[in-house]
Symmetry: C2
């Protein structure tokens, strides 16, 4: 554990820097006492911590080289986080898995704007608050991006989160998605199949709905391309017993290693060319474009004064932009680009 | 000149793709006939074309390797552009210099939101239009970013533009700024001194005002750092005879080679270490963060359906993000970071 608060150059590092205090060890819970109107806050945090341990351990085992470095911090007024980042691994160039607990407030319009309610539900997130009023909220999430070195190993992202407003509105959100640089149909069938199985146990409508949602969400509008080859994504989920949604979110998080790591194992030693490496780096450039321009979690983090290094751990160690690059027709690069432009069903 | 419209994979490349038609050679003017209420539109475009020719030629001379590649296009309904990009040079990894002429419309609020009027002027950009109404506008600009290979050679950006609304409001904007990875005080004195001289010929208030504006504008809020070491930046300039502002903008554009190229000449063969290269790439990561999250021109381009490859030519060919990187106290990296955090006066 590194103590980050005492470092002299941190003063102006972020909007909310002064509210981040490094601690040697995170307290057993980052939730404040006595403020929850449900026991779900602490329960969800505990589950995410277990998932974080399990996923980081599983990734370390596959990497066989580097270990995750841990930074823990608390925030004035409650909340905090545990960031875990692995860099310079044998298999992964950069892999992050961050827990965060936020007590904040947002203008009611901003809270509503992030809501896909017209398409996928009807949560009135700002219920009880007038336009222009700030809505105090609680949020707890585990967020991860893992960028492998080998261009034949896909990048993976997941995020599972629980929100409550002080107005008593609650919802779950999350998803796991995969971003290969090259198309491997069997791998995609396996990854999507694993999540379809998880979804189907809870609701047969989940997978088709959440798969579509991922394709729509992870879309780089200005490119007309998806970021990767999808997975599942959901938000504002509160249409049933929260205990049932909790179980679903838990199973989604706990299945990250099963859905992702066998694909990495299978390709971590694949030979590759300089051209393939450069294509991977260009796709990482697209990853950066999506995250900085569109990603809800990144924008939420920047706006709420989150810990910048934790928020931007999602960016790859290296990325590339070539002017007006177009893959050769018939190439492997053109093949996968076609699928980024026209999302496909895998299972 | 490359014909870009006939390429089969362009269909879904951008929001506004269908409105971009590649042409072998740009027409003599990209302004529509008969719509201008001043002759300034065509005059400004002509000046920018001359500046583009002069600057690109000057850069090619210093590079001594690669040449600029030209893509020209027109848009339905008027307007178009000429993009020039040099890649894989001896000195520059990527250098772009793009002319664009846009006939578009924006919601009056969005047009006003981009206006720093509270701080620097009082232009009512949406004059004559009600809230919620779209304001038709004309914009013509030359925009450039040049990323050299050697970490001791700074990146340079400039943009000069002229706006008119159909409501008869007009203004000029622009600036030139420099982004080194390492501090060289003499170089900064030279660069800023050159622009101070240009400014002083037109108005002794320009340089101090526009230097400060650049420091405030090129600020990465979530990092608490400036993108680089500034220069000049102005917008909504319409407080005097437009012919006088035209002359000022022209002189600013024509002085880009004089202000920038001697610095590159002086350092293009400086020896450097792997560590210095990596630091340069991390500063380029910050460049990407600024451009995708805050830059007015980038956001304007993405929102108005501009040609994506032209807008994003500003991104470096390569960039790097290391988790929680902190320079060693007393190092050259710490020295320049201190100035990014506390902008300095150079002349």
């Amino acid at each position: 554990l590194r103590a980050t608060a005492t470092k002299p150059d941190q003063k102006s590092e972020g909007l909310g820097f002064d509210s981040h205090k490094a601690v040697d060890k995170a307290p057993d819970t980052l939730c404040r006492d006595g403020t929850a109107n449900t026991a779900m806050r602490a329960k969800f945090e505990k589950m995410l911590r277990e998932a974080q341990d399990y996923i980081c351990k599983s990734v370390e085992n596959v990497d066989g080289g580097a270990k995750f470095q841990t930074d823990a911090w608390t925030r004035e007024g409650g909340g905090g986080g545990i960031s875990r980042v692995l860099t310079g691994g044998k298999v992964w160039e950069k892999a992050g898995c961050n827990l965060s607990v936020v007590y904040g407030s947002m203008p009611s319009e901003a809270l509503q704007a992030a809501n896909d309610r017209l398409k996928f539900g009807a949560t009135d997130r700002a219920k009880g608050y007038a336009p222009g009023e700030r809505v105090p909220f609680f949020a707890c999430g585990l967020s991860s991006v893992m960028h492998p070195k080998n261009p034949h190993c896909p990048t993976m992202h997941f995020n599972y989160r629980y929100f409550e407003t002080e107005g008593g509105v609650w919802w779950f959100g999350g998803g796991t998605d995969i971003t290969p640089a090259y198309l491997n149909v069997d791998d995609m069938k396996y990854f999507h199949g694993t999540y379809k199985e998880v979804c189907d146990k809870h609701d047969p409508e989940f997978y088709p709905k959440f798969k579509k949602w991922a394709d729509e969400y992870f879309f780089i509008k200005h490119r007309g391309e998806t970021r990767g080859l999808g997975g599942i994504f959901f938000d504002d989920l509160n249409d049933r017993d929260p205990e049932k949604i909790f179980e679903f979110a838990k199973e989604c998080a706990m299945n990250v290693p099963k859905a992702y790591l066998p694909i990495v194992e299978a390709h971590k030693n694949d030979p590759f060319t300089q051209k393939e490496k450069e294509w991977q780096l260009m796709r990482r450039g697209r990853y950066v474009e999506f995250n900085l321009v569109y990603d809800r979690g990144t924008i939420f983090g920047l706006k709420t004064g989150g810990r910048i290094e934790s928020i931007l751990m999602s960016l790859p160690e290296t990325a590339r932009w070539e002017y007006d690059h177009r893959p050769e027709p018939g190439s492997k690069e053109a093949e996968v680009l076609e699928v980024f432009r026209n999302p496909r069903d895998w299972v």
